[in-house]
């Protein structure tokens, strides 16, 4: 029997993944990508967002916000020693839908809406309701991350 997550994200059926947290409404993928676990982050009124960054719900707006946090654009999702990477997903209309963060192991961690965190291969969530990966960014991995 398919799990709830495999029905929502068919790419998980053919890849190895693990659930790494209980389901919670307390934070979302953007917050989790930044290690924040007590609030939802989204560039809309009523949600937490990065200080001094305009609330623009676009890929360009997300890139600007992450650049403020010292991320820079990159071309590869391959693990690079000393760097932390994120992947920004978008739908067919180029609306941002999701953010994933690479772990030191090279695997990726995601907070799935109000569901759980999972560890997985980067391609496993592509072509779901999250759409496709449109931007990769990296920064020097913070100490302890």
């Amino acid at each position: 029997m398919r799990s709830r997550l495999e029905l929502l994200f068919p790419g998980l059926r053919s890849s190895e993944y693990s659930i790494t947290s209980p389901a919670t409404h307390k934070y979302n993928c953007v917050a989790w990508a930044l290690g924040i676990v007590d609030r939802w982050m989204w560039p809309l009124d009523g949600y937490h967002w990065i200080d001094d960054v305009p609330r623009g719900e676009s890929i360009a707006g997300f890139v600007t916000a992450f650049q403020v946090l010292r991320f820079e654009l990159c071309d590869s999702s391959d693990l690079e020693r000393g760097f932390e990477k994120i992947a920004i997903y978008a739908d067919d209309a180029s609306n941002p839908t999701h953010v994933a963060r690479q772990l030191p192991s090279g695997r990726w961690t995601n907070k799935l809406g109000r569901y759980e965190d999972i560890e997985h291969d980067l391609s496993a969530l592509v072509d779901s309701d999250y759409g496709r990966i449109t931007v990769l960014m990296k920064r020097v991995r913070p100490k302890g991350a």
């Binding site: 609030r39 809309l44 009523g46 719900e57 309701d129």
Partner: protein, 101 residues
Amino acid sequence: MAVVNCDLQREFAAEVALWRRDTSHLSSVRAICSHPAYLRIIAMGVRALPYLLNEFIERPDHWHLALCTITGDNPVPKEDYGDLDAMANHWLEWGRERGLD
């Protein structure tokens, strides 16, 4: 004291269940809050306020936008934006002040 409207209460509960089923895996607040069931809840207007406030405090979720739209008010200070538990408490207090609890 709020008057209970059983039909509206059932309709509200059905829309909440549908909305939650379809959006719990989503990360985009815009996608979550533009789901048709969410918009139908907003369209219920002030009659849905007691149910909405109760739902928010029982199961904190993305009800802030709906409440702002229905009431034209916003009792949540910016420092609590995104903290759904804190936001629910602010709205609960807002409802209490207006006899909607």
